[in-house]
């Protein structure tokens, strides 16, 4: 989701079909749909709730239980093509009219009476432009790039940009770069496990030959690939990642990477390449005094210059 309108992201079928699977929507059926009438199966509101709470309006975004249920009805039938591929390529988004709840639905005070999949598309487009969504996305945006507790003036400014541009994430990124707060030299954030591992890969200048150890490292660092602990995704705060267990494992991983490269790389040159003049004298000294290039590389990978961002 690097650029483009937030509303478009919300509707992108790839994201939606994964959510359908992750949050049970393929099992949800409108009680008055053909399938619901025949089998007595009903709604599962899991995906609808998380769309409102986590991905758009936010938990204080002013929606009610009735809105959750209503959105659940609106997106009944949103699923993906099964393993057997009866309706096309397995895994692709699929609208199952048989399980779709027919009729008018009211969500956040607005009526939706479109046919089939158009109803959900219209609802998502409106939710994505909602003022509460602007606030929520602006806060998460600033928290991710700047600080756990971003300045509220900046969040307001980003929220305003979101509203003015109809949720253009590229405009949001440019507004952030234009803000003086973004140019603070202190590294207040912690690199997440995946950011740390990507950074380590770039420092040694090598793609992993085998994804296994990389994926294993993500697992033990508490950030399994595509497996966040809940639908709210991975944590995005310093406290979540700068913890005893996590740091101990980062040290172990740095040892493994350094063991792989041994004396083939000069860690002082690498420090210059990644940090240049902003590298601290202490880090430079610690690496220079290392008993081997291997140990120096492990120290570089563990240095605040690499662990922080």
């Amino acid at each position: 989701m690097s650029s483009g309108a937030f509303a478009t992201c919300c509707k992108q079928s790839r994201a939606i079909r994964q959510c359908c699977f992750y949050l049970d929507n393929q099992f949800s059926a409108g009680p008055n749909s053909a399938f619901g009438q025949r089998t007595g199966r009903g709604l599962n509101e899991n995906l609808a709730r998380e769309i409102l709470e986590l991905h758009t309006l936010g938990v204080n975004g002013g929606y009610s239980q009735a809105d959750v249920t209503s959105l659940a009805r609106i997106i009944t039938g949103w699923t993906f093509i099964g393993r057997l591929g009866q309706f096309g390529e397995p895994g692709r988004f699929f609208f199952n009219a048989n399980t779709h709840e027919p009729g008018l639905q009211t969500l956040l005070g607005r009526p939706y009476d479109q046919e089939d999949v158009a109803k959900g598309r219209a609802a998502l487009a409106n939710i994505a432009q909602h003022p509460a969504t602007a606030e929520h996305i602006a806060f998460k945006f600033a928290r991710h790039f700047l600080a756990d507790d971003p300045p509220s003036a900046l969040v307001d400014k980003l929220a305003n940009t979101f509203r003015m541009t109809g949720g253009d994430l590229k405009a949001l990124a440019l507004a952030l770069i234009d803000s003086p707060e973004a140019w603070h030299p202190e590294r207040t954030k912690m690199r997440s496990p995946s950011e740390f591992l990507y950074a380590a890969g770039r420092i040694v200048g090598r793609m992993p030959d085998d994804p296994g150890p990389f994926l294993g490292a993500l697992n033990i660092l508490g950030m399994p690939l595509w497996g966040p602990p809940g639908p709210n995704g991975y944590p995005d705060t310093v406290a979540a990642w700068a913890n005893p267990e996590g740091m101990k494992v980062r040290l172990e991983i740095s040892v493994r990477i350094a063991d792989r490269w041994r004396d083939a790389l000069n860690p002082l040159d690498l420090l210059d390449q990644i940090a240049g003049p902003v590298a601290s004298p202490e880090t430079r000294q610690a690496i220079a005094r290392a008993e081997s290039k291997q140990q120096g590389l492990a120290l570089l990978l563990m240095s605040p210059e690499v662990q922080r961002r």
Partner: protein, 408 residues
């Protein structure tokens, strides 16, 4: 008034024992031991995702239960019969260890319990459960850590700090009191030389990272012991729960180890295909049961001074949904286990399951505030006073009295 009327408790007795000489303050732990052999351990296990209390401890005596829970309802007959606890409640058949503890008077259940949170967001629900504040908000500390901070300075249990199990410290254990983090390890150890060089660099450049790394390295030394180091499948599997329990038990059993631990097990958000006597929830409950067994085994003689409290953010709908699962609800159960627990009973002010008895016509109505249960344990097991509990541990909870008689 509250202070004078509080229940006598180990640390209060300890305080009286040392009143003769204020200079003895620094040596309080020794006196405490002489006055009272108890060296209590407290373990809190969080079940993330919201446990279906009506499936874990089924009200088989309630005429409306079977209808609401439909094809996943437990019963005393048929395949995989539930284990009767009294004339009304029955335990899920995947929990034979807890059933044994219950019969031995070392396991208790509080039913129709909930935090003060009445919405249905996991993340806010867990925030309330762990922060101990009446509502969700962005606070950085948890009630278990604040309970540790509130213990008398120098008390043995306070100086040992807390233990947070898992790759990240759960909110319940974050705060001012020192916390040791530990998680089952799967990679070889770096040399001590390298570790001390990194620590030295951090001490000069990044004190926060210096603290957390030092704690992480110290924890590993204690926990590793003779443990089976095979990688496991995380905290949503029976093997992962068992391994976490084993390491935590070793750490709190160590002479100079922490006395209070927090663990979090995942995977309880059973929206679809929850299962009855067997299936998805049964496997998770079996994992929790295995964790109880592991604590009992590893703690050995210390088990008699141990209290384990198992809590979850909220319950699930009383009626199963369209996908043979349950959606986010309200009232649920809390498990209490350990030699220090006055067990053998289900504590419940049963609200009934008729439509007008359900919370918002959909959830088991909560009749007991979870804070009362936890306060009762903290008061009688760790010796915290009512005032501290009502203000710093669970802010704005003056009206919630500690539940008496949970601890032997």
């Amino acid at each position: 008034m509250n202070f004078l009327c509080e229940t006598p408790s180990p640390s209060r007795r300890a305080l009286l024992a040392t009143a003769a000489g204020l200079f003895a303050w620094a040596y309080l732990p020794k006196f405490a031991r002489a006055a009272d052999q108890r060296d209590p351990r407290l373990v809190v296990i969080i079940l993330r995702g919201a446990l279906d209390g009506l499936s874990a401890v089924a009200p088989v005596g309630d005429p409306d239960y079977a209808g609401l829970h439909g094809q996943i309802a437990l019963s005393l007959s048929g395949e995989g019969p539930a284990i009767p606890l009294d004339s009304f409640f029955a335990l899920h058949p995947a929990m034979p260890v807890f059933a044994r503890l219950y019969r031995a008077g070392q396991g208790a259940i509080v039913h129709a319990v909930a935090t003060s949170y009445r919405e249905r967001s996991h993340f806010d629900g867990q925030d309330v459960l762990e922060s101990g504040f009446p509502g969700p908000g962005r606070v950085g500390s948890g009630w278990l850590n604040r309970a540790l901070s509130a213990l008398p300075r120098g008390a043995r249990i306070a100086t040992r700090g807390g233990l947070g199990v898992g790759p990240t410290t759960p909110l319940i254990m974050r705060g001012a009191a020192p916390v040791l983090g530990w998680s089952p390890q799967t990679l070889p150890q770096p040399t001590e030389d390298l570790a001390s060089r990194v620590l030295d660099l951090y001490r000069h450049r990044d004190p926060i990272l210096a603290d957390v790394l030092a704690q992480g390295l110290a924890a590993e030394k204690i926990a590793a012991g003779e443990m089976d180091k095979t990688p496991r499948g995380g905290f949503a599997t029976a093997a992962g729960m068992k391994q976490a329990a084993q390491g935590a038990a070793r750490l709190i059993a160590a002479d100079d180890g922490p006395r209070v631990a927090a663990l979090a097990f995942d995977g309880w958000d059973t929206h679809a295909n929850e299962g009855g006597a067997t299936g998805r929830l049964a496997q998770l409950l079996g994992g929790l049961d295995g964790a109880f067994e592991e604590f009992e085994r590893v703690l050995g003689p210390i088990w008699k001074d141990t209290a384990i409290v198992v809590v979850t953010e909220f319950g699930r709908t009383a009626r199963i949904n369209g996908t043979t699962g349950t959606d986010h609800g309200t009232g649920t159960v809390a498990f209490l286990a350990g030699g220090a627990i006055k067990g053998g009973r289900v504590i419940a002010d049963w609200p009934g399951l008729k439509p007008d008895q359900l919370h918002e016509s959909r959830d088991l109505a909560p009749t007991t505030d979870l804070r009362a249960v936890v306060k009762g344990v903290l008061a009688d097991h760790l010796g915290l006073g009512g005032t501290v509990l009502a203000h710093s541990v669970f802010p704005d909870s003056t009206g919630i009295e500690p539940m008496a008689g949970l601890i032997v």
